[in-house]
Symmetry: D2
């Protein structure tokens, strides 16, 4: 396919880890071309100055993020900015006819009061927010296909919701019993230097953080409630792992029916995700390693039913920067455009 | 103190990680001297052949583990052998007047049927087993002082039981609600080469294993039941971390009294462990990193009460090879001998 | 392109790291299909049993490595076996009309006496060995295009020879002064479990090994001598790095002409590799990180001329399993088949 | 020994990695007590606020670094400050009768012009600088015993000079042929957050930096020249390793006498360092891992003579924060005070 047929897209916030993953995926996507890279601190720099190893393939200068200029040159815009910035930019881009995929938290919440409570930011774009669709294709594929604005999920919610969805949709678990113990590589903390993210600090150590307070909690609860048809509260604890990439979410819940076996639940999961290209339910007795998903848009799921305790334990593994961020955004773009959902997305892991 | 006054001790199973930690601690302990190192595969080797960097300080040849010879030369014997071997050796050593500290699972269970069910090994040393004390000093200090046989705790149980003890003793939690999500470095898997423990496999990745089946489950339940005064079942899930040392145990439970605050519970913990030199309850809002405990006999505890969900979440961090294994055994030896409990034990971490 | 047009290829030795990389590359290569996977210990297993995360894309059973069966089903055969096995298999496959790419050391040496001296193996396939071409396309592209048997280079020689080639071809350095200090991730040691490759041993540590004795020494010297037109001896010291993938080769040599500046030498390098898609000479002042090459077939080169000492220092970075092994073999296959040299080969790194 | 007999010492620059190592060593040193901790940015904080895991053992508030106050309360002062600050503070402390050990570069150079050339800082404390002794006890033990001002060596020079000393003193090598390829963990870069030191960047990757320009070059050359009795130029290339602690220095040089064997050179080294408690020459065929030195004041040396090339290759391993920084400073303090050189210094590694 000649480049004249490729759809022009923009990446705003190109200098961070989300931006560099988007750049890598979009430059290899057969149906689009990167027509605009925008940033604030990095405006004026060549992308290859920030990432010398990509200079040979991505020869683009980062510009200021001017809505007019972006909309003139791109049909689809990926926003990879800190929370609270996309909601200033997206309304203008939508008004000019762009499709927008936002990787921040700005368009993930149906109820803006929840956003304001947890993110401490007032908002005045209620109408725009109301039109946004939560960009987890395995839950909202049909609605993504019809929207112009996708609020791409957080990394922890992606892994967690894919692990919980069959249980919630089938009504298999006690909704007050959900405990989510999640583990993430440090790249989720971004490229801005912070002492606790130094190799000398974060290497060879693990710790919990944000217990009971992490802002992915209301995001997970919103979607769980939607899936269950009633309000769900979850216990969510993130942990920092001494590795760059990957999230493992270990989810615990009490089974409603003590007679269901592991094989029963595995059958339900396999059936549930049968037509999902990007979710792989592992055979009985196999639990995923995060490494298996590295570099791909895949989510691997392994599970166990403990007949002694009456609990189901589900572990799900993703690459936090891919299915947890950039690749999932590309997956949503494919759906918005009516392209095959797997276009341009890697499925074979960088391994070992 | 001259060496003539130092008590002679033996390490059986000196070539593994438990053995090398014991050797390091005991060679620096002011009140003992290593008089015997025993092994099977490594018999005949110098300890410095196995660990060239220790040759300058530990110039001892590993011998076969003959009970007669051991008892002739040592008053205290540390057994650091695979499960199922200590129970052959300990009765003979005890009969000859030695004090024995076993680092395997052989003497951790009051009920040998539980041992047989989970470890698939028949036993005929019922009387000896009945005399053993579970070597977690912060729970059984008084009984350790009076026994000649200590079954040293597993690494996961150590971190987990120290996190749970105040809750169980004070009756603060719903006993059916306990979820333990534990994370360990790979040194817990020993020095025998296995594919899944290779750096190329275990690095840059996390995974769960043994869900609902790990043999530390009945060990945790036995002691929890003892602390609670009634039978306790727990949900225990271990995870492999891409690091060498350290365990973080994240424990979840439902509070019985929804009115208790984090400050209330912190006060209870600080009071509970006030006189325990080796357990440090952190200030409000601080959760431990495993790195903080590395190289020490310390256990750091941080906790949170989530008023939204009614749960308490406790995280505890230890060095799996120290408080989780060798150093805790030395702590028990100190108690058995009537020495100050901190003798010869490091408290300042190898950090960063 | 339909599968009927894809050329059938075989991977023999599919269970190791070389095999799994080859499998990943070949399953995505548009012009071939994997028609045969062979092994010894793993024969009878599904590839997905060994690598559960690839089961969804590579549904092939590993068979015994029977030359007849292989040649019946495949036109091109990749041998990824321990040293000394390919030389038994390759002659039979060649006789049946297959093209063969061997990833072991068996066909890297023009002079079999050198092979015998360093590898301690007698050989009787002199004629076959004489027909083999050393598979470093940036040196022997033309000859690779005309052979049926490629001896694919070792990982260290690949990084090192690409760093040295312009200096040797242009006669810029004192041939007795070459010092090569190379650093490799542990995946170069393969997937067989060994104590020194355990995460608990190899993590958080570096060491030299095989000083003056590593078998890549004569391989580097053979090709250096060919490039220089006279015999070259090198000082080669490999080091083990606490990481999975990547090689950095730091090469030192005395400049013949003290007047040449860094900019002069950079100009020579850029000119030399101008038409090489897979070698990227970095701008002045930038030295490569191994991470920049991870997952790609690229070699990054940065260099410095030290006017104080009269030395040139070149650092080159590759992914040891890709440009250093599997991807370079695919590059050679592309050349043997007359396909574009970049077909099916990744150039955007897995980063960060 | 009661605390009333302990000598009061000060640590200025207590918040960095040098400071925290000094604090840990000095709090356990039997002959001193920490009487003052000083800093700039951290003044007013408790040391335990910066390092919560040390709060239980080091309950000291960091104060401003006022020379008067320091000298009133401490007899020995450790300066662990950025380059260019110690030379403002040390003269005042010396004038008030303190002994000073400076961990920065300020007092390492006999020739202040070299300092000014490489560090770009003008100095006016020529007299004071002239009285300073380079604090590498294995070279300048006698002079350290008689000075009040020690300029503690850099981490790379420590490992490198211990590797080179016997060769230079015995005149065994060609002085123009020295190549030093050194590898360091990231803790050498300090605790200030920088992008290239993030776990997400520095993990799983190696790179060279500062080729031909690193400021440890003139420091190494100054001492080498002193040892050789004539001017020595070296080729020094540092590399960043994906690990927290440790330096490995691999040193290459041409032998003057081609007849000397590895055993000859090993005999020379063992004899040379026979009475040095902290330098361990390994048996033939064993090369050190950096991990072997972690947490100790030891330097391990392994070497090889390559008869093919006529070169000697020496590898030396230290803990960059211990023998490479804080522990070596304590060793010098012991010597300055006439205490046994090993007092308070660990010799058994944190391993694995």
């Amino acid at each position: 396919m000649g480049s004249t047929e490729q759809l022009p897209v923009a990446i705003i916030g190109a200098s961070g880890y989300g931006g560099v993953q988007l750049a890598r995926l979009l430059v290899e996507h057969p149906l689009v071309e990167i027509a605009y890279m925008g940033g604030s601190g990095s405006a004026g720099s060549g992308f290859g100055d920030l990432y010398p190893h990509l200079a040979h393939s991505i020869d683009i200068t980062i510009e200021n993020a001017e809505p007019e200029a972006i909309a003139d040159r791109a049909k689809i815009v990926f926003l990879s900015l800190p929370n609270g910035l996309a909601c200033k930019l997206a309304p203008k881009l939508l008004a000019k006819g762009c499709k927008v995929l936002d990787l921040s938290a700005d368009y993930r919440f149906r109820d803006l009061q929840t956003y304001t409570d947890w993110y401490k930011t007032e908002r005045d774009d209620l109408d725009v927010a109301a039109s946004a669709v939560y960009g987890l294709p395995e839950i909202y594929r049909d609605r993504i296909a019809e929207t112009n604005l996708v609020g791409c999920p957080g990394c922890y919610p992606t892994a967690t919701l894919l692990a919980l969805q069959p249980l919630l949709k089938q009504g298999l678990i006690d909704l007050r019993s959900i405990v989510i113990d999640a583990k993430s590589g440090t790249s989720g903390g971004g490229r801005q230097p912070k002492t606790n993210m130094l190799l000398a600090e974060a290497s060879a150590s693990v710790c919990a953080y944000g217990i009971g307070k992490h802002r992915h909690t209301p995001e997970i609860e919103q979607i769980c409630s939607d899936l269950a048809g009633q309000e769900v509260l979850v216990q969510f604890t993130p942990h920092l792992m001494p590795m760059v990439r990957g999230i493992l979410s270990t989810v615990y819940a009490n089974m409603r029916d003590p007679g269901l076996t592991k094989d029963d639940v595995l059958t339900i999961y396999k059936s549930f995700y049968r037509s999902s290209e990007w979710v792989k339910v592992l055979p009985s007795g196999i639990y995923p390693q995060t490494k298996w998903a590295c570099g791909t848009n895949l989510c691997y799921i392994g599970l166990e039913v403990d007949s002694r305790t009456g609990r189901v334990i589900v572990t799900s593994a993703i690459d936090n920067l891919m299915k947890g961020q950039a690749a999932q955004a590309v997956q949503s773009m494919n759906i918005m455009m009516g392209w095959p959902e797997t276009t341009g997305l890697p499925k074979l892991a960088f391994y070992p």
